[in-house]
């Protein structure tokens, strides 16, 4: 049996190793550094994320208006009141409706545009990508306020154009009519956050190897066949993740909805976040316990969506490892 001799380390290296402190002590010091660098994150995350979550659970079991010094323990009474409130379920329904309306539209439209913007033949494609991403970096509250002017039924540009074209005689009250208010916000939300989903798709499209397209093209595949048999199947795992990310992001619409409609007219656009805010801060006598109970119930719903996301990610990993 052949024995391979292990070459001896050069003399210099041997000396350095001998100078190092024992392994246990080195690991201890490394651990110390790790924790030292983690400390700011742990502290800030604890103070601004973990503590408010725990506190909201505690508040949900007390009755407190935020003005009194004392809080009264009421057990599950706040939860019972929240679940019995038709306006909570109304806001829940609107939240889900908003999600169901936004997700398919946004995911499909951004995919279509990403396919166009991914084409190397398209001139100025970087400019277009930037243009579509621009609303993402604009402050949402400002977008909301500006959109109030844009959709103003008296002098807003949208209504001016509609009137000039002879499509309507009087201005449409986009944000003041319960039949149009939610859909107007849906449209603005999709426009505002279009760029994020677009970037996801563009990133996903970069993962499709050029050789596969080249091979298919040599075999005579046209653009439609390339899309149908190569691009779309390879994007499937990404579609799951992108859909779930979009789905989760639609649950965070508070700032846009508050500035555009304030939840009105008459609760027609009141999503759960505004419902919680209304009871916690905008009520004549705030009910922080009640609002916290609504927040916990909503949080559990968001948690469910998160679980769905987790399952989606696992499914994607499995698909990739099977390939």
């Amino acid at each position: 049996m052949a024995v391979t001799a292990v070459p001896e380390a050069p003399a210099e290296r041997r000396t350095r190793r001998a100078d190092r402190p024992p392994k246990g002590s080195r690991q201890g010091r490394n651990q110390l550094w790790v924790w030292l660098f983690l400390t700011p994150t742990v502290v800030l995350y604890g103070v601004y994320t973990v503590y408010p979550i725990i506190a909201s659970y505690w508040y949900s079991f007390v009755e407190w208006n935020g003005f009194d010094a004392d809080k009264t323990w009421v057990g599950l009474a706040n939860y019972k009141a929240v679940l019995a409130d038709p306006l909570f379920w109304n806001s829940f329904k609107i939240t889900v409706l908003f999600m169901v309306a936004v997700v398919p539209l946004k995911v499909l439209l951004t995919l279509l545009l990403a396919l166009v913007l991914n084409s190397p033949k398209l001139p100025l494609r970087t400019l277009f990508r930037t243009a579509f991403f621009l609303p993402v970096v604009t402050t949402t509250a400002i977008v909301g306020v500006v959109m109030q002017f844009v959709f103003d039924p008296a002098s807003g540009p949208v209504n001016v154009v509609l009137r000039e074209l002879g499509l309507v005689a009087d201005g449409i009250n986009f944000l003041g009519d319960p039949k149009t208010a939610l859909w107007t916000v849906v449209g603005v939300y999709i426009w505002k956050w279009f760029g994020v989903t677009l970037i996801y798709w563009l990133a996903a499209l970069q993962t499709v190897p050029d050789e596969v397209y080249e091979a298919a093209a040599i075999d005579g595949a046209g653009p439609w066949k390339l899309l149908h048999h190569i691009t779309l199947p390879l994007l499937k795992p990404f579609a799951v993740i992108i859909t779930l990310l979009t789905l989760e992001s639609t649950l965070k619409v508070f700032d846009l909805m508050l500035t555009m409609t304030n939840g009105g007219p008459f609760y027609a656009t009141e999503v759960v976040e505004i419902y919680i805010y209304r009871w916690a801060f905008a009520a004549t006598v705030p009910q922080l316990g009640f609002a916290s109970a609504a927040a916990v119930v909503f949080g559990l719903f968001v948690g469910l969506v998160g679980l769905l996301q987790l399952a989606g990610i696992r499914a994607v990993r499995k698909t990739r490892s099977d390939r």
């Binding site: 700011p40 003005f67 039924p153 009519d177 304030n262 007219p265």
Partner: protein, 482 residues
């Protein structure tokens, strides 16, 4: 030479140190501003802000105490105070705009300190603005009133230019609901494209509720609670008719289309651009126009709230008012804070305040002496003639304050119901108001029980005043025989 590890470690340590130091230095203790020579003051009197800044600058010169002054939008001040109280950062002096809890409750919960001002200093103020249960508790002053109870927020403000163009005689044509509707129609016709008859803050539900309550009293109603029985009366004819009046304005296409997205401030701003002829608002409207839309000042006219029918003199009942400026119980400089509040008790300052044309001054006679826009003087005359003081359960029995504080908000409230009816989502207004009354009654009964269980003697009968006479002020002497 410093190693990479050493550098990173030092940086992390410095960052942590800075973080800790900044966390320590930004946390005021016990409602204190930076430095003992500074008082913090929050109020919501936008039209008076410049005057207050000048008064506070003079105060600093004479006392050496600086005042950090913040003027809030009333909608946001309640939230700011709520957070300030929770984090023990209440300002030394503040108004309680946006906080709907009675002062009695705030005092109990440790918000308010007695304001130590000698009685002589208060002699320039009318005695009837001070009332135990509102400005005073146990005969100690807890809040200094700056604004009179004798005012309302549904004066009819009109654009003189548009009214003239439409050939209106405002005194005659804006006196009744029918007249108001006709006038709005004529303004639209004469004004041409883009001009509406009426503009309203439909997004601001509490103000809508005030408008409807006041219009209901201009239709012979007695307000949300009938003082004779203590029962809620939103479902009675005057309220229903008042809402129907507003709906008719919308149905006739007289409402400025963007009103659904406007609150009080934005609708006032739009009205002052000349897009609508008529606008309901309080006396402060002219002060804000003077402050922010000066070019519109000469086009402003005012008339009383319209009544449901010709020949009816509107009588509106206003509750006693708690004072405006309070001193925080957590303030470490309550003496100096009281000195600051005392500034507002002199006739000279009250006159200067009146000239800012905000809410009506506690002494209405000052309006005659003050250099103010003619509409402000007209408004003062209207209020003298039309507004009466209504009885308050809190004066008769301080325990009623606990009940008010215990009561939870009912949703949709009156303003919300009006929004729902105007947007067409609520079809049966009387049914909605009946449900609202039933929920309010049940909630008050629950609150009475909850408060009584804590040993406070209070019943729903405390809201009933058998000796109340419609059309008359319910003065302090009346409580003795109630």
């Amino acid at each position: 030479m410093i190693s990479r590890r050493g550098f990173l470690g030092a940086s992390a340590g410095a960052a942590l140190g800075a973080l800790t130091a900044s966390a320590c230095s930004t946390a005021p203790s016990g409602g204190q501003a930076a430095g003992a020579k500074t008082l913090r003051c929050w109020d919501h009197f936008q039209p008076r802000a410049d005057l207050h800044k000048k008064l506070f600058a003079d105060f600093q010169k004479s006392s050496g105490v600086a005042v950090e002054y913040t003027v809030y939008n009333p909608n946001q001040q309640g939230q700011a105070l709520q957070l300030a109280f929770g984090s023990k950062q209440l300002p030394d002096v503040f108004t309680t705009a946006g906080v709907q809890l009675p002062h009695a409750r705030l005092r109990k919960e440790g918000w308010l300190a007695p304001i130590e001002i000698e009685k002589e200093a208060l002699s320039a103020m009318p005695a009837d603005v001070f009332l135990n249960g509102f400005t005073h508790f146990e005969d100690k002053l807890y809040s200094l009133p700056l604004v009179n109870f004798r005012q309302y927020s549904t004066l009819t403000w009109y654009n003189v230019e548009l009214a003239t163009k439409a050939g209106l005689d405002p005194e005659r044509d804006l006196a009744t609901w029918d007249g108001f509707r006709q006038a709005a129609r004529k303004i639209e016709a004469a004004g041409g494209d883009g001009i509406s008859g009426w503009i309203a803050p439909l997004q601001f539900a509490p103000r809508l509720g005030e408008h409807v309550t006041e219009l209901s009293m201009a239709a012979g109603g007695v307000g949300a609670v009938d003082p004779r029985t203590g029962e809620y009366g939103h479902a009675r004819d005057p309220f229903v008719h008042a809402i129907e009046f507003l709906v008719s304005l919308k149905k006739d296409g007289l409402l400025f289309p963007a009103s659904t997205s406007l609150d009080a401030r934005t609708s006032r701003a739009r009205w002052s651009t000349g897009v609508a002829g008529l606008f309901f608002d309080g006396p402060w409207n002219i002060g804000v126009v003077n402050d922010q839309f000066k070019s519109f000042l000469d086009k402003v006219g005012v008339a009383p709230i319209p009544t449901s029918e010709a020949g009816r003199e509107a009588i509106l009942y206003a509750s006693p008012k708690a004072g405006d400026y309070c001193v925080a119980a957590t303030s470490q400089h309550q003496d100096q804070a009281a000195e600051l509040v005392k500034l507002f008790t002199s006739e000279e300052v009250m006159l200067a305040e009146t000239e800012q044309m905000d809410g009506m001054p506690v002494n209405l006679d000052l309006v005659d002496k003050a250099k103010v826009h003619p509409t402000y003087k007209t408004a003062a005359g209207i209020f003298r003639r039309q507004v009466r003081l209504r009885p308050a359960a809190e004066v008769r029995n301080p325990g009623a304050s606990d009940v008010v504080a215990e009561m939870k908000q009912i949703e949709p409230n009156l303003g919300g119901i009006v929004q729902g009816v105007l947007s067409g989502q609520l079809k049966d207004v009387r049914k909605a108001l009946k449900e609202y009354d039933a929920k309010l009654t049940a909630e008050r009964d629950r609150a009475v029980k909850a408060v009584a269980a804590k040993g406070v003697e209070v019943t729903a009968d405390d809201w009933a005043f058998a000796n109340w006479t419609p059309g008359q002020d319910y003065g302090r002497d009346k409580y003795k025989t109630s």
